[in-house]
Symmetry: C2
Subunit: 157 residues, 2 copies
Amino acid sequence: MNMKAFQDSYPDELSHCYGCGSNNEYGHRLKSYWDGDFTIAHFNPEPWHTAIPGYVYGGLIASLIDCHATGSAAAAAFRAEEREMDSDPPIRFVTASLKVDYLAPTPLGVELELCGELLEVGKRKVIVAVLVKAGGKICARGRVVAVIMPESMVSLE
Amino acid sequence: MNMKAFQDSYPDELSHCYGCGSNNEYGHRLKSYWDGDFTIAHFNPEPWHTAIPGYVYGGLIASLIDCHATGSAAAAAFRAEEREMDSDPPIRFVTASLKVDYLAPTPLGVELELCGELLEVGKRKVIVAVLVKAGGKICARGRVVAVIMPESMVSLE
């Protein structure tokens, strides 16, 4: 497994994401990595990330899937170009659509594992499937259509 | 518009949700209301709820859609039984699936409005469509399949 997280290769000005930006001091700071041809991330929800007592809030699960998938999309795009993720020009994806199926209640208090699979890797569009496990049990399944970030989004700064 | 929020009618032990529970001191505390046959909620994202600078984090949008939809599902179930939401027995829905299409970047710094439409109201399953607007412009579209909360989830407390 490559020890540098995808998100740690994002340019500084694109590292403010609440879900995974290392410059967001209030956020989740999710870290995603290659694991062979798959991508992997781990996350420990806080006690207040609750839906009903004892279970993880579904919105957090959706958020983690979203960030893991867009990170995986960027990593796959760099890999397709045989470039390191911190090389120029940067490639960054945003979410066009996110689908989450909640398959089983997700217990709070155990580490979550997200496993991403690249279903389709295009120049402008990447489709990622993500499984979320708690204690080895699959609790949610996500599918994200990620598209290359519009230049207009960055120029607004 | 009825002035009591759906979420303020949830039983105390089911009011810990990070997205909408009034007992969750760290959460979003979303409040949803009837607006004729539609449901409505407003939310002001915090400055740190950012995707990239200037735009709202997609995971937050997914979370708000989720909570507005499950609240709308409960409200619709009570309305179908011609009961007030704080009458017994309580009815509470959880999310089976959540789909969000991000139609346009959502600017940070303006109030978001969520409008819910009940597409299907069954005893055990309710389908809700949600539009998210920022400054009057539709930025995201959600579709949530909500199912009645399994009794096993509550007994875990």
